[in-house]
Symmetry: C3
Subunit: 364 residues, 3 copies
């Protein structure tokens, strides 16, 4: 059910594409005069867009879909557009741009803003806000929110229903907290940061000291006295957890993007603009560089260092430092179960097999 | 602490077993006249059932437990019952049925319904329901629930405490939402669907466009304009997350069963009656067939297609399409740590070992 | 942002170190007279502690940091202290103790208690407590908590905002539930247990019976009639889920420590003092011994038995019983992607390689 604006609210193609100016993207229209009058009510995939919608082509493998799309306008690369002109002329207005995917991103944001602009900047009567909390201008606070003493929330931030913000935590400006986000005490969050439902920031790191002389419990809890510091322009997915540090802070850099169900252990540091797909686990005190990507369900052991621009494949267990940029993988290949059984049985003999091979080589 | 009904509320064995008729299961009693009078207060395992309870045997390996169970009645297969008659006659009443496990399932449901029937169909005074939401007949809404504009909830559905349902989402009839479920906007959920606590449906898919020309952030957010469509008779476990689609919907088919802590990425499609154990991650745009089973902690990469009747073993990383039904596995076998170290070290030499072997073969 | 007490509230070093007496740790000061007057306002890492703080050295690899720390006092081992005396005399007061890490743990707890002692033992006016619930002395209940019929909460327990406790659940004394914990019905929790935000205890185990004759759904739900029983001194991390048993209970022993995002399946049993790092999945009916440690993102199949004192490395899939204590591992080693591709391709030929090797050996 994608958004479809009423035609009275729909922008012209020309107005809509002005989103490109935000980031200096250059573009041209195949039919400039039409772009001034054509109304665009929504955005859809090439396969599903209607005649009132715009679409885009960023993956060259989908070029064949251009011939059957019903979209009124399509964003595409100069090279693609040249190829099309040589062939039969398409019926849509082409928006020729050297980064169709980025332009699509900006336009999708614009349509999403039409939806969320209907939320009013108010503080719901059921929100419980400690008198010692500081709430900035144009902050929206939903039903049943609990904000404790010493909290500050900067201007323009939206806090969804059922969120809880613990003592002395500081939230930046223009953030969006969806419903049911939990922030413990002494957490610091930058500007324009988005937190999805079920995320928990600042729970205790997992720290215990073994001591045989303790009677009531074999593990002594290490109180976690550090905090969490999250930068600007971060996005944190649903049910993701980021633990507070033992003595110093857990640190999430600017522009970091974390998908759902990720776990960041205490005292980890995630460098600026690093992105992680869902279900990743980062153990305590691991230091990940900038501009890294971590594939889904990858696992990073504790106390490691990863350089900048390291790319970890999904499902890989990282158990030692990575000092050079590049792509790293460690996944047992999937196979039909019987084949796997046969081959996996040899894994336990690999060192023997190497020895036997050496022996044969010595003989031959 | 299993449920034990008061003897005044307990059904006779005969009445209880009538649950089988719901799905056409056939059965007979070893002592039909006793079945009319024997009261059954609860259901227990063969080892723990009391003389007031019924039990069942579905796993042939547990047949020896029949001789010492205290259960008043036991559901078992015709073949098992014949074996027992040849041996010493048991003291329990046998319920002979060719699918003891399914009959147990129905009876356990019956007992569970006795417990939950005490919940009243009311709307709690603290629930905040937008005037533009449509609430059907016999809907129960718990304390501190927040229901936004344009939501519809069909008859007989129960919404637990602290649930949040975002604008324009549609919930079917006879659903059960346990406490603390979060539904974002424009999500569609079918009839008789069960959602457990902490589940989050419709959070933004993980979509970002890299653009070096953007100054404030290296990643441009792709607004997620699609929705989530969930079929009938689905069950979704605690803290499971299902993201909304980028342009089209993420789709969960009828009868799909998802365990806890599962992550379904945006635009994934899960076919009817597919079941997934806990901690599975399904990356974006992956299309899983019908009647598949996915073992716990398996990971599926994005943009894959899996055929119907595919069975993935727990812990397997699936990184390529699977076009044939069958069981697939890819797990590094566990071993004592020293053995693992010795053998894992050879993994990095496997292609060399193959070469050396070829060389030897050429010589010999 | 670690805690720094006002100097008027700060204890002397001598008073602070008396925490050691709780568990019989022995210690001495390098400058006993100074210990009586030196005020300690906080605790920090060797690198970051200020002149008003205490620090500790438990990892011998960090011994070089002793020469540049600004800490007023440092906890260290006798051996380390002897080494230092031979070298240049340090400026800090040494607290010589044969278990610096345990002493640090106790002192960090003491500082943390200064922070949390400001929370008042009150029942918030918005908490909804069924008249048939029993609330002990000095219980603190936060805003918007929902406590259902038949619940009992023993003395000294703190229930954070937005927690929900289902019918007939029993909570011990001196527990701490952080915000947004969900407890289903018939769950039993021991004394001094800590639950972090987003944890869900007692959701339905994942049980379905396949039955082709059922029309509306291919899977019949097995109602989960058992409960969950959690011992004393347990800690459960953020967004961790523990499912209720099918007929009997899921059992978590005394002193068990579970990190975030862990999933414990129905009817599993976790032995006393076992600790699990984040993202572990334990499938149904698996029985883990006492004093085990399970590394992050490890996965345990269902119906297994693990002995006492078993240690599983992070990322390992355990698919068969482990009867002997020791460390077990099963992780595909990470490598540069191209190397992985080359070597992983040989995995599917391992049984053939073994055969070819045998053939060569037979010939030579």
């Amino acid at each position: 059910m994608p958004i479809l604006l009423d035609s009275s609210q729909a922008p012209t193609l020309s107005e809509l594409i002005k989103q490109a100016n935000q980031v200096g993207l250059k573009y041209s229209f195949s039919a400039p005069e039409l772009a001034e009058s054509l109304l665009i009510q929504g955005i859809g995939s090439l396969a599903n867009a209607t005649t009132a919608e715009i679409s885009f082509l960023s993956n060259p493998r989908l070029v064949s879909e251009l011939s059957c799309t019903k979209a009124a306008a399509v964003i595409l690369e100069p090279k693609t557009w040249e190829g099309l002109q040589a062939a039969k002329k398409p019926e849509f207005v082409a928006v020729v741009c050297d980064n169709p995917y980025a332009l699509y991103a900006l336009i999708a944001q614009w349509f999403d803003n039409q939806r969320i602009s209907t939320i009013k900047n108010t503080i719901h009567s059921t929100a419980i806000i400690d008198p010692n909390a500081k709430i900035g201008a144009n902050v929206s606070i939903g039903p049943y929110v609990v904000i404790e003493s010493g909290v500050s929330i900067a201007s323009g931030t939206t806090i969804g229903a059922h969120c809880t913000i613990g003592p002395n935590s500081q939230i930046g400006s223009n953030c969006t907290f969806h419903s049911n986000v939990t922030i413990y005490h002494n957490v610091q969050i930058g500007d324009r940061t988005i937190l999805h439902s079920g995320s928990v920031i600042g729970a205790d790191g997992f720290g215990f000291a073994p001591d045989p002389r303790v009677k009531h419990q074999a593990w002594v809890k290490i109180a976690q006295l550090g905090g969490v510091k999250i930068g600007n322009d971060v996005e944190i997915g649903a049910n993701t957890t980021i633990d507070r540090g033992a003595l110093d802070n857990t640190i999430i850099g600017d522009g970091v993007k974390l998908d759902n169900q990720i776990m960041i252990g205490h005292n980890a540091t995630i460098g600026d603009h690093t992105a992680m797909a869902a279900c990743v686990g980062v153990a305590g005190s691991t230091n990940i560089g900038k501009h890294c990507t971590i594939g889904g369900a990858a696992m990073l052991s504790g106390h490691l260092t990863l350089a900048n621009n390291v790319h970890i494949s999904g499902g890989t267990a990282v158990t030692s430092n990575i000092t050079e940029p590049g792509r790293y993988t460690g996944v047992f290949p999937q196979a039909q179960h019987k084949d796997w059984q046969r081959n996996a049985a040899v894994i336990s003999q690999l060192s023997t097999i190497r020895k036997r091979l050496r022996k044969l080589e010595g003989k031959s």
